[in-house]
Amino acid sequence: MRLTVNGRVHDLDPAPSLTLLDLLRDKLSLTGTKLVCDRGECGACTVQLDGEIVYSCLTLAEACEGANVVTVEGLATGGSSPELTPLQRAFIAKDAAQCGFCTPGQLIAAHTLLAKNPRPSSDEVRAGMSGNLCRCGTYPKILEAILAVADGEFEQKTEDGGAHAA
C-alpha cells in the first residue's frame, strides 16, 4: 500500500494487525510520536490523517492506504536546523513543554485545531485540547502558546524565537 508521511511517499506492506503508531515508530523510525496508554485515552500518539487528528495507537496501518499523514517530525522543515512553525516557536517561548513526552501529540492537536478554527476562544482551546493529557501540568503554558499564535504573536519568525532560542 502507498502512504504519504510528512510529504514523503512510502510503499509499505504492513501486517494486518500493525497500528499506524507502530508503523511510524518501528518501520519509519519516526519516534517523535509516543506510545503512552495504547488505547486512545491520553492523546500522546495523536497524528494528522488527511487533515483530521487520529489516535495512531487505535488506527490500523492498513486502513490508511493512500492517506496523507503528518507527525511532529513533519511540522518543521529543513533538516537538523529546521524552520519551526509558529506553534513550535510559541511552545518554546512560552515554556509549553516540561518533560516533553506529550508535546508531539499536543502540537499536532493544536495545529489541527488552529487549522479548523484560527481564532479560537480560550474555552474552545480548553475543550479542543482536553483529549491530550499532560502529567507535568503544562496546560496553562500550552493554552497561552496556542492563544498567542491565534493572536498572531508568532507570525513573523523573530531572531530570538528561532530553533535555538536560548
Binding site: D95, A97, R126, C136, L143
Partner: protein, 770 residues
C-alpha cells in the same frame, strides 16, 4: 544566626554534614571544596541567572528529536515483556513456560528460579497482584506479549489483606515475609506535653482526615534498554538517578560498578517513582546477557498503573487545641498508612511538627504492609498527605474561632524550625501569606458565581506548606572550554522535565562570564560524567548548582591566568562578560575564542564540588496557596475557578521554568483533590482502574487561571548560589486549599478526598437532612 560548617576544616579535609532528602535527614562525610565562591546575595549583579531564558532543549522537545528510552534502538534489538501475577496472595503450584518458547519470534523465556537472587524476580510466592512471575524475550513487543500470555500458571490462592484494618486485624493473614507492620508500636514523634496543651486550650477540635492512593502516572512509563559488550553492560533507563541505577544493577547482577554504564538522555516525567532500577531493568539486562543482543523492556500502561509506585493512602485522626485568640496549644495526630508490599516510613506526621509554632505536638504513625504494589516517593511524599490533615484542621479551627484562616496561620508563624529547634537559612512565609492574599483578593468578599446556568455555590480556601529543600553533597561538576571557546558543563545529573540542563547552563554562563548560547550542559551518563545524586527531594538545583558554579569559577581563574599574559595584565585585573575578557578600566580586551585559539588544544578544565551544608540550620521552601471553587449544587461537580500560589524558594535561577514547576505541582494537587484515586477491590485484591480513562488526571478543561509566583530573595546561607528547591513544595498545600474552598462553598467540612461529585452530593444531602 545560622552557622556555616566551614570552621576548622581545610580544603580537601573531610567534615560531617547533614542532608535532608524527602524529609529524611542523613549524615554524610564530605570533603571540603578547594575553595568556596562568595555567595550570590541579593546585591550580586547577575544577568543570566534570574533571566527568563527559554528551556535550552525545548527545540528538541517540540520537533520530536528528543530521544526517550523507548526511542532507543540498537542493531538486532529484541523486546521483553513481563508476565504478572493475577492474584494478590498465594503460591505458584505449577508454571508451564513451554507454550511460550514455541511461539513465533520468541528467543527466550525466564520464570521462577531463572533470575539471580539479587533481582528478587520470579518468586513462587505471590505477595500482590501485578508481581512479576515470568518474562519473554522476542523479536517484537507483540510477539513477546502473545507468548507471555501463552504461559500456563496454576496458583494456590491464599487469604490476603489489602486494607490497613485487614492487615493489622488479630486474625490477619500473613501479608509478607517481613510481617504485616513495620514496627509493633507506632512511630512516635513528640515535643512538649500534648495532654497539658489540650487542657490549656479554650477550644479543642477532633477530626478524621482521609486521603486516597495517588498514582504517579508519568506519561513515559518505566523502561530500560540493555546491551552487553563482553563483561560490560550499558543500560538506557528512564530514571531520576543514573548512579543509583548503576549501583542497583551492579549489586543485583554482581557486576563491578565500572562495568555498568547507565545513560539517561530525555525523560518523560518521574515524580518520585523512577529512583532506581526495577524489574524491567533486570529483565532487559538478563535477556541481553543470555542472547548477546540488545534488549528493551518498557512497561505497558497497565503495569505502570499497577506496579510502578504510588502515594499511599492515609487516615489521620487529628486533635487540635487553641486559645480563643488562635494561639495553638496542642496538636495530636494518630495516623494509619498502608504502604503496599514494600515502602518506607515517610509518613504524614512530620509536617505536623514543622509548620507552626505549637509547643505541644505529638504524632503516632502506624505503617502496615498490604497485598498491593509497594509505595514509592511521590512529589512531597508524606507532607502532601499530612498537609491535608493539618491544614484541614487549621481551617476547621479558624471557622470555629471565627478567625480569618490567613490570620490564624500568621498568628502561629514560627521563627525557628520547631521540630529540631533550629534557625532557618531564610524564611519568607509571612510574605507568601501577604502577597498571596493580595493577589487573590482574599480580603474581598466576592461570592458571585462566575457562571449562572445552574445553582452554583462559591467558596474560597487557603493552605500553607513547608518542605526541606537544601540539597547537599556529594555532587561534582566539571567545566571544559573547547578550542573554539564553546563550553561544556559536565555533571552526572538528570533533567526530568524540570529544566536542570537550562538552569545549570545559566549558572555556568553567569559564573564564567560567557554567553549562554556558548554553554551546553551534558548530563545523564555514569561513564563519562562526575557523580551527582538522585534528582529527588527537590535537590538538584541546590546540590549540583553550587558544584557547577565552582567548576566555572575554577575554569575562569585558569582562563584569566592564560589571558593575563596575552593582555599584558594581572589576572586580578581581568573581568569577563558575554564571552569576552576585559582588563578593568582599560579598553584592552580579548574574546574567549581569541584566547582559546592561542591555547590550541590546551584545554582548560574547571572542577567543582558541593560543599557541606550550614550546620544546625533548617533549609526549607515555603508557600501559601489560595483557591476559589464553584460547586454545582445539583450535580456535585467542583470546578476550581481561580488559584493563587506564593512561594519562597530563595533565589530563582529561571523564573519561567520555576513557575512552570509551580503550576505543575498545583495541577497534580488539583487532581489529588478532585479526581485521583486508585480503586483496589477489597474482595479481589485487584486494581480496578489501571487505565488513564478510569484513573482521572486533570485535563486542560479542568484548569483554572493560575497565578503562581515567588516572593523573598536570595538565600546565601543555604548555599553560595542562594537557591533552594521548588519541585515538590507546590503540590503540598493544593488539596487542603481546594477542600477548604469546597467546605466554604457548601457549608459542610470536607475531610476526605478526592472530592468527587457523589461525595459532594452526599455532603449536601446531609445538610438538607439537617
Amino acid at each position: 544566626m545560622p552557622r556555616k560548617a566551614k570552621s576548622t576544616a581545610k580544603p580537601g579535609g573531610f567534615v560531617s554534614t547533614t542532608v535532608e532528602i524527602e524529609g529524611r535527614t542523613e549524615t554524610r562525610i564530605v570533603e571540603m571544596p578547594a575553595f568556596e565562591p562568595a555567595a550570590w546575595t541579593d546585591a550580586a549583579e547577575l544577568g543570566i541567572v534570574g533571566a527568563r531564558v527559554p528551556r535550552m532543549d525545548a527545540p528538541e522537545r517540540v520537533t520530536g528529536r528528543a530521544r526517550y528510552t523507548a526511542d532507543i534502538t540498537r542493531p538486532g534489538m529484541l523486546h521483553a515483556v513481563i508476565l504478572r501475577a493475577t492474584i494478590p496472595r498465594g503460591t505458584i503450584r505449577a508454571i508451564d513456560l513451554a507454550p511460550a518458547r514455541v511461539m513465533p519470534g520468541v528467543f527466550d523465556v525466564l520464570g521462577p528460579g531463572d533470575a539471580p537472587a539479587g533481582t528478587r524476580l520470579f518468586g513462587r510466592e505471590i505477595f500482590y497482584a501485578g508481581q512479576p512471575v515470568a518474562a519473554v524475550c522476542a523479536e517484537s513487543v507483540r510477539a513477546a506479549h502473545d507468548a507471555a500470555h501463552a504461559i500456563v500458571i496454576a496458583y494456590d490462592a491464599l487469604p490476603f489483606a489489602v486494607t490497613f484494618g485487614d492487615a493489622v486485624a488479630k486474625d490477619a493473614p500473613k501479608v509478607s515475609a517481613k510481617g504485616n507492620v513495620t514496627r509493633e508500636t507506632p512511630l512516635v514523634m513528640s515535643r512538649g506535653d500534648v495532654k497539658a496543651g489540650l487542657a490549656a486550650a479554650d477550644i479543642v477540635l477532633e477530626r478524621v482526615y482521609t486521603t486516597p492512593v495517588q498514582l504517579h502516572t508519568a506519561l513515559e512509563p518505566h523502561g530500560a534498554a540493555a546491551e552487553w559488550e563482553g563483561d560490560r553492560l550499558t543500560v538506557w533507563e528512564s530514571t531520576q538517578g543514573i548512579f543509583r541505577v548503576r549501583e542497583n544493577v551492579s549489586k543485583a547482577l554482581d557486576v563491578p560498578l565500572s562495568n555498568v554504564r547507565v545513560i539517561k538522555d530525555y525523560m518523560g516525567g518521574g515524580f518520585g517513582a523512577k529512583n532506581g532500577a526495577g524489574s524491567h531493568t533486570f529483565v532487559a539486562a538478563l535477556f541481553a546477557k543470555r542472547q548477546s543482543r540488545a534488549v528493551r523492556c518498557i512497561n505497558d500502561r497497565e503495569a505502570e498503573q499497577t506496579d510502578a509506585g504510588n502515594r499511599p493512602s492515609s487516615v489521620q485522626r487529628v486533635t487540635i487545641g487553641a486559645k480563643k485568640d488562635g494561639t495553638l496549644t496542642a496538636i495530636y495526630a494518630s495516623i494509619d498508612v498502608p504502604l503496599g508490599i514494600s515502602g518506607y516510613e515517610g509518613g504524614p506526621g512530620q509536617i505536623y511538627h514543622e509548620m507552626y509554632a505549637c509547643p505541644n505536638v505529638r504524632t503516632e504513625e502506624s505503617f502496615a504492609y498490604i497485598n498491593a504494589s509497594g509505595m514509592a516517593a511521590f512529589r512531597g511524599p508524606g507532607y502532601v498527605e499530612g498537609a491535608f490533615g493539618l491544614e484541614g484542621a487549621m481551617n476547621a479551627l479558624a471557622k470555629e474561632l471565627k478567625i480569618d484562616p490567613v490570620a490564624l496561620r500568621k498568628k502561629n508563624f514560627t521563627k525557628r524550625e520547631p521540630r529540631q529547634d533550629r534557625p532557618y537559612s531564610g524564611n519568607a512565609l509571612l510574605e507568601c501569606y501577604k502577597e498571596g492574599a493580595e493577589a487573590f483578593g482574599w480580603a474581598a468578599q466576592d461570592r458571585s458565581p462566575k457562571t449562572e446556568v445552574r445553582k452554583k455555590l462559591v467558596g474560597r480556601g487557603v493552605a500553607a506548606q513547608v518542605w526541606p529543600t537544601g540539597g547537599g553533597p556529594p555532587a561534582y561538576a566539571l567545566l571544559r572550554i573547547n578550542s573554539d571557546a564553546t563550553i561544556d558543563v559536565l555533571a552526572g545529573t538528570q533533567d526530568l522535565g524540570t529544566g536542570a540542563r537550562t538552569v545549570l547552563s545559566q549558572i555556568a554562563a553567569e559564573s564564567i562570564g560567557a554567553k549562554l548560547s556558548d554553554v551546553r550542559a551534558i548530563i545523564g551518563d555514569t561513564e563519562s560524567l562526575p557523580y551527582t545524586g538522585n534528582s529527588w527531594g527537590s535537590m538538584t538545583t541546590a546540590s549540583v548548582g553550587p558544584a557547577v558554579r565552582m567548576a566555572a569559577e575554577d575554569a575562569r581563574s585558569q582562563l584569566f591566568e592564560a589571558a593575563a599574559a596575552m593582555l599584558d595584565a594581572k589576572p586580578n585585573d581581568l573581568e569577563s562578560r558575554d564571552s569576552r575578557i576585559v582588563v578593568r578600566d582599560t579598553d584592552r580586551s580579548m574574546t574567549f575564542a581569541e584566547v582559546t585559539k592561542k591555547l590550541g588544544n590546551v584545554m582548560i578544565i574547571g572542577k567543582g564540588s558541593r560543599g557541606p551544608n550550614p550546620s544546625d540550620t533548617a533549609i526549607m521552601t515555603f508557600g501559601a496557596q489560595f483557591a476559589e471553587v464553584e460547586v454545582d449544587g445539583d450535580t456535585g461537580v467542583v470546578r476550581v475557578t481561580r488559584f493563587v500560589a506564593a512561594h519562597d524558594a530563595g533565589r530563582i535561577i529561571n523564573p519561567t521554568l520555576a513557575e512552570s514547576q509551580l503550576e505543575g505541582g498545583i495541577i497534580q494537587g488539583l487532581g489529588y483533590a478532585l479526581f485521583e484515586e486508585r480503586v483496589l477491590d477489597h474482595k479481589l485484591g485487584l486494581v480496578m482502574n489501571a487505565t488513564m480513562h478510569d484513573y482521572k488526571i486533570p485535563t486542560m478543561s479542568d484548569i483554572p487561571a493560575i497565578d503562581a509566583f515567588f516572593v523573598g530573595g536570595s538565600d546565601p546561607v543555604a548555599n553560595h548560589t542562594g537557591a533552594r528547591g521548588i519541585a515538590e513544595p507546590p503540590i503540598i498545600p493544593t488539596a487542603p486549599a481546594i477542600a477548604a474552598a469546597v467546605s466554604d462553598a457548601i457549608g459542610v467540612e470536607m475531610t476526605e478526598i478526592p472530592l468527587t461529585p457523589w461525595r459532594v452530593l452526599a455532603a449536601l444531602a446531609s445538610v438538607k437532612r439537617g
